[in-house]
Assembly symmetry: C2
Homo-oligomer: 80 residues x 2
């Protein structure tokens, strides 16, 4: 069995109002020097295979088809 | 300036219906051998300091106070 983590983040230049709100909330809680905050998603996925190369290819396909919106998001696949 | 990534994931044993729905959707798209899928969050944060130790302590405090619900979620801080 292979465990993997897919991380999906907004591309540079795409506005992230949610991240901005979190930044403001951190300021409000008294944290100083907080610059940009951007929120993304992670997916921890288990695959019933032992073929790392096949798993990586499959995870890339999953990301492109379902997990990420590649118009505005980047993704990275990491087999653990 | 320090860039860091805080990753927040559900603790083991906490139900994740969203992850389950994603798993079913992947099955439906024809991906075979998909086991458990669990969704989490990442926060990419920039801090205006060069003191790594201080930044790590501050990010841990941010996670405990705002970014993670430590009753049901774990978090990890990674300074890049």
């Amino acid at each position: 069995m292979i465990k993997a983590r897919v991380t999906v983040t907004l591309k540079n230049g795409v506005l992230d109002p949610q991240g901005k709100a979190i930044g403001h909330a951190l300021d409000g809680l008294g944290f100083e020097g907080v610059g940009s905050v951007r929120q993304g998603k992670v997916f921890d996925i288990e695959l019933e295979t032992d073929d790392r190369a096949k798993a990586e290819a499959e995870l890339k396909a999953m990301s492109e088809k379902l997990l990420a919106n590649t118009v505005i998001e980047d993704f990275s696949v990491e087999v653990i």
